[in-house]
């Protein structure tokens, strides 16, 4: 038994199996959630490379799987990623019924998750470009409603993500050729440029970011939450692993300023767009971009603390995005347009969804007592030590995003003639309350989470 079989092959085969059982919604949901939870617990508690004892039976858990001369490797270094990924998937699948998404969400979602895990596990890194492209293509059935025309955002998503593959493959191939003569700096620079463009396309970094708000506008909010919550994190981790694997790259004097500058531009530009944006679906896209910008800033710190905070920041990010996606889904499914002008007084119709929407935005902007606060505070502290200029810009960006959250709050809390009603179902209220409580607990007791997750933070990528 090996970890790639458990975390890649098994969920992929299950997704194929579940695809044929789509009509049995309850079975598909249960199998999807249980599988993800079991895999999450296994990643959390079991040491990879050791023996797994179940009563008298002992099974060796190998960490590598060779396929046609190449290997898939999931070691103890990947435990946090695997736990997080399958925990997040379990949550998304659990909320699928409440969100009213199509029955193919869980089979295709599981296939995407397993292929993305393969992308992170494959060695050499070059192959992850193809696997991410396959994951993008596997997500296509989620991107359209039956019988509906394909939106411009979906097309852009496909084009931009597809364009990334040749850049990464070519850059990786150039880099492979240079290993023999690392002194060839001109070729080294060309390889880095190709890879940089590839990663920028994957992560929707400026100037390739236009598809994100368009995609979130075109898609069901819950689906866009799942995809935009997943892809940027996985590609970010592939990038971090890649930087960590090349000593000359992480020691380059250009790496820190270039990633830091790009991150700061993303934070400021997306926050400014968030202020003037009238549609909440697009606003969701800008929120994803803001998170990516902040994550890039954490990478630019090139420190152990920065990497730990980056990994930890995925938790409040995931909860905030899923809360936001669920809230938007609830409001949209009642037939209300997500234009901010139509949402006056909506808090009295959907009190839980409206509050969750505002709380998730406040958390993203780093408001005290919420999940985003500890990670934003740590980021600003670390940034201020080395780049005070960028710190100021990031503060301006976060302030601008906070302004858009307050503007939304003012709009949705306007008095409404109909009085207070509750438009959410009990299931929806349960998921919303759970999400809000987790954000609050993370904000109030950040060290609690850090302590719980400490065993997983072993052998994290080194960026300097």
């Amino acid at each position: 038994m090996s970890t790639p079989v458990l975390f890649i092959l098994l969920p992929f085969l299950l997704s194929v199996f579940l695809f044929f059982l789509q009509k049995r919604t309850r079975l598909v949901t249960t199998v999807g959630i249980v599988t993800c939870i079991v895999l999450m617990l296994f990643a959390f508690f079991q040491t990879f490379g050791a023996v797994w004892k179940i009563g008298p039976i002992s099974i060796e858990i190998k960490t590598d799987l060779a396929v046609m001369g190449r290997s898939f490797s999931l070691t103890n270094q990947d435990k946090f990623f695997l736990s997080f990924l399958y925990f997040a998937s379990a949550l998304w699948f659990a909320g699928a019924k409440s969100a009213g998404v199509t029955t193919r969400f869980i089979p295709f979602g599981m296939a995407v998750v397993s292929i993305l895990t393969a992308a992170l596990a494959v060695e050499p890194f070059l192959y992850s470009a193809i696997l991410v492209e396959i994951a993008v293509l596997a997500s296509v059935p989620l991107l359209v409603e039956p019988g509906q025309p394909v939106g411009n955002g979906v097309l852009r998503f496909l084009v931009y993500q597809s364009l990334a593959m040749p850049f990464i493959l070519f850059g990786g191939w150039l880099l492979g050729g240079i290993q023999a003569s690392p002194s060839d700096t001109a070729r080294l620079m060309q390889a880095v440029i190709f890879l940089g463009v590839g990663f920028a396309l994957w992560l929707a970094v400026v100037p390739f970011q236009s598809w994100v708000p368009k995609l979130s506008f075109d898609l069901h909010p819950y689906i866009s939450g799942f995809l935009l919550g997943l892809f940027p994190i996985v590609t970010m981790l592939i990038m971090v692993d890649f930087i960590s694997g090349l000593v000359w790259l992480r020691e380059s004097v250009y790496l820190q300023p270039s990633i830091g500058l790009v991150g700061a531009i993303m934070v400021v530009s997306t926050s400014v767009w968030a202020i003037i944006e009238r549609d909440l679906s697009r606003l969701f896209g800008y929120t994803v971009l803001l998170e990516t910008g902040l994550a890039l800033l954490l990478v630019s710190l090139q420190s152990d603390a920065g990497v730990s905070i980056l990994y930890l920041s995925f938790i409040p990010r995931m909860f905030a995005l899923s809360l936001m996606a669920l809230s938007l889904t609830i409001i949209k499914s009642s037939g209300i347009s997500l234009d901010i002008d139509n949402l006056a007084g909506i808090m009295r119709k959907f009190p839980f969804a409206s509050l969750a929407l505002v709380i998730s935005m406040l958390s993203v902007s780093g408001c005290p007592l919420l999940g985003g606060f500890p990670v934003r505070l740590s980021l600003l502290e670390l940034l201020a030590e080395g780049s005070p200029g960028i710190t100021v810009w990031v503060l301006i960006g976060m302030g601008a995003y906070l302004f858009s959250a307050m503007r939304l709050f003012l709009k949705i809390s306007k008095p409404f003639e109909g009085g207070w009603v509750r438009g959410e179902s009990n299931n929806q209220v349960f998921f919303i309350v759970t999400g809000v409580v987790v954000l609050l607990v993370f904000g109030l007791f950040p060290n609690l989470f850090a302590e719980i997750l400490k065993p997983l933070f072993v052998n994290l990528p080194i960026l300097r």
Binding site: I130, P149, L155, V159
Partner: protein, 193 residues
């Protein structure tokens, strides 16, 4: 160029590219792409093993068949281009090809790949990028992605002969066409209802 006779498939490829951006009928567009694949095949087969080249050709043609079958089920008439639009497209594509022709020698030396392959590859990439930039129709967009990937493969597979990576690239090409077909059928079924 190792063999000057290879200028013929290159010219055929360029002509097929021009026809692709000029025609409005999906059948002619598909034939244009098929000719482009065949022209590229006649070049690569001289430098790669026959079976390896054949895999690339068959993958490409299969992808075209999948997309063709999807659109055949629900025929679509693309918006007819005006005369000035056609002239604009031809001039732009020829400009792209001209610029690429000036680059090809240096790229060929830099990558140590035969000039013919690089020229065919750059033409296909140029066509793909140009199509991606100007089209909104699903059918044309997926064809553009396919031809872009094929152009890239000509350069990439010249140096990277790993079975796994080339197999995965073939899977990607087929998946692109499958998903394109799925989206086309999904959209057309909705329009008919």
């Amino acid at each position: 160029m190792d063999n000057w006779i290879n200028i013929i498939p290159i010219i055929v490829l360029a002509a097929a590219s021009v026809s692709i951006i000029l025609f409005d009928e999906w059948e002619r567009i598909l034939i244009g792409y098929a000719v482009a694949y065949l022209s590229a095949f006649t070049i690569i087969v001289q430098f790669w093993t026959f079976s390896f080249s054949l895999v690339k050709l068959i993958t490409g043609l299969m992808s075209l068949v999948i997309l063709g079958l999807s659109i055949f089920r629900y025929p679509v008439v693309f918006q007819t281009k005006t005369r000035s639009e056609r002239i604009f497209r031809i001039i732009t594509l020829l400009l792209i090809f001209t610029v690429l022709s000036f680059l090809v020698y240096r790229v060929s030396i830099y990558l140590s790949i035969p000039l013919e392959i690089v020229l065919a590859s750059l033409f296909l990439i140029g066509l793909g990028v140009f199509q991606l930039g100007i089209t909104h129709e699903l059918f044309k967009l997926f064809l553009a992605i396919l031809i872009l990937f094929f152009g890239f493969e000509l350069i990439f597979s010249s140096n990277e002969t790993s079975l796994l990576i080339n197999g995965l690239l073939a899977i990607v090409a087929l998946l692109v066409s499958l998903m394109g077909g799925f989206l086309i059928i999904n959209e057309r079924e909705g329009a008919e209802e």
